[in-house]
Amino acid sequence: MAEPAALTETGPDPSGPAVSLRGVTKVYDSGVAALGPIDLEVRKGEFVSLLGPSGCGKSTALRLIAGLNAPTSGTVRVFRPVVGVRGRHSVGFVFQEPTLMPWTSVRENVRLPLKLAHAPAREADARIDQALAQMGLAEFADAYPRELSGGMKMRVSLARALVTDPDILLMDEPFAALDEITRFRLNNDLLALWRDLRKTVIFVTHSVFESVYLSQRVIVMTSRPGRIAAEIGIETAEPRAEDFRTSVDYAGYCRKVSNALAPSHPGQHSP
């Protein structure tokens, strides 16, 4: 069994791996085996979804990558460039809930990662403005979280993740609690952002349709303990837009992913 470790390395190769998990398992203190062993490699700039039912360990995997928890065994490697700028943070995390500080304004919530890194104020202001503009929040900078709708709160959460200009964006069912109309709009905005900024995105979801719509690759997971059941590449010409949702191509991929998810085919590996 390998030493549990979360390594940090510099990757000179622009299309090389961004995240690599080798034989990773997680057993919680209560004795529950939540994950693994799993092997997973995510390339730089790739959009990958982890799809599975509740309790399949997909959130656990994300928390291990973020370094919020340590693996019980195996290695988690996150390849990140040498950080030279204060307030530059290579991993951004978006939780299922907006997870905002209710006691302060939208602007101050977005400022948090920079403040914790002691980034110089003027530079921080410019980056906050940019992140707010990217998420269409410029007019809401002085609002308090409680004054915003669920979708807007999630935009603030995204802006906060983007403000450090991360290479890797980890998203834990970020749109699960939103209504469908808002979710579709945020899906499109996220895709546009990903196209413009070319971040590596690892997106956890329990929606087949969302995973197929967004990602280049869907990792289907099974529960207790969480294992990878299938990997399905979504090879559709970019850029995707709303009409992809109603295409035959899309329906075909959704069927394929759903079949991989069905409990009658445990451990099946699709090409």
Binding site: R63, A66, G67, L68, H89, V91, F93, F95, E97, T99, M101, P102, W103, T104, L112, P113, K115, L116, A117, Y144, P145, R146, T164
Partner: protein
């Protein structure tokens, strides 16, 4: 000819409902007070009770005005004691909670004693304190003992109820202990701390009064509680009532000020300070 048309409700007609309700909520207790005082006055006059048995409200009021120089001095003394005890309780309670939050060992070793201090009736501790401490200090310590526990336990509760994901976010961005405390734990605990302070305000007054009464026989104190005890010995019942009136007014003002502070601090974000329509 009769018409069955109902007149449309104008805005002016629609709103009075809530405004009337608010007025009623203020006027009703005032009316009850007025009726109570009138009945009291009537009972005393009709039965010709002497003032040392039961003074009429008018006699209490006259005493309040006539004895104002003495009573106001006592009021000031009691308020000062309460303020000092309250300040010590606020600082001590928050500081101790912060220490407990930083070190579990400290919490495990000391928290039981905080509980013991809280559950032992202060009126039983006061005479002991008066033996070992100068009187003024003993009175303040009494006010502190009863006031600090709600601040301590509320602050502890607040510091421990930080959103788990927000705490994760702070650790993800490499926040130091001090940053986590300053930017996350303290703001998150603020509503709880303010709630604790609101309780501590009233309790500090009680602590001060208890200690003044316990010290009363020593004769040096000049607070309102001491006035009550002294007036009792002299059968100056109207003055007892007047001093009691001032004490209760002081308690109401302290509570009101702390509730107002809490509202002003939290009004932009906390559920407790928001209107019901939100």
């Amino acid at each position: 000819m009769s018409s069955l048309q109902t007149p449309p409700l104008t805005a002016a007609q629609a709103t009075p409902d809530s405004r009337t309700l608010r007025l009623v909520r203020i006027l009703l207790p005032v009316a009850v007070l007025a009726v109570g005082i009138a009945a009291w006055e009537l009972v005393v006059r009709l039965n010709h009770f002497p003032p040392y048995v039961l003074p009429a409200p008018s006699a209490v009021f006259v005493t309040l005005v006539a004895d104002w120089p003495v009573l106001s001095q006592s009021l000031l003394t009691t308020l000062l004691t309460t303020l000092e005890g309250f300040t010590a309780a606020a600082i001590g309670g928050v500081a101790l909670a912060l220490l407990f939050n930083q070190s579990k060992w400290l919490e495990y070793s000391l928290f039981p004693y905080a509980v013991i201090l809280q559950v032992t009736p202060v009126i039983a501790i006061a005479p002991l304190l008066l033996i070992y401490l100068p009187q003024q200090t003993a009175v303040i310590v009494c006010a502190w003992i009863v006031g600090f526990f709600p601040v301590l336990s509320n602050t502890t509760l607040g510091l421990n109820s930080v959103d788990r994901n927000l705490a994760g976010l702070f650790s993800l961005y490499g926040a130091s202990r001090l940053q986590t405390l300053r930017f996350l734990k303290l703001p998150a605990a603020l509503p709880f701390i303010l709630g604790g302070l609101r309780i501590a305000g009233g309790l500090s007054l009680i602590g001060a009064v208890v200690a003044e009464i316990a010290a009363g026989s020593a004769g040096a104190g000049s607070g309102l509680a001491y006035r009550i005890a002294e007036s009792g010995y002299r059968l100056n019942i109207p003055r007892m009532f007047a001093a009691l009136l001032l004490l209760s007014a002081a308690g109401i003002v302290i509570y009101g000020l702390l509730a107002l502070t809490s509202h002003l601090v939290l009004r932009r974000w906390h559920e407790s300070a928001l209107g019901k329509e939100n």
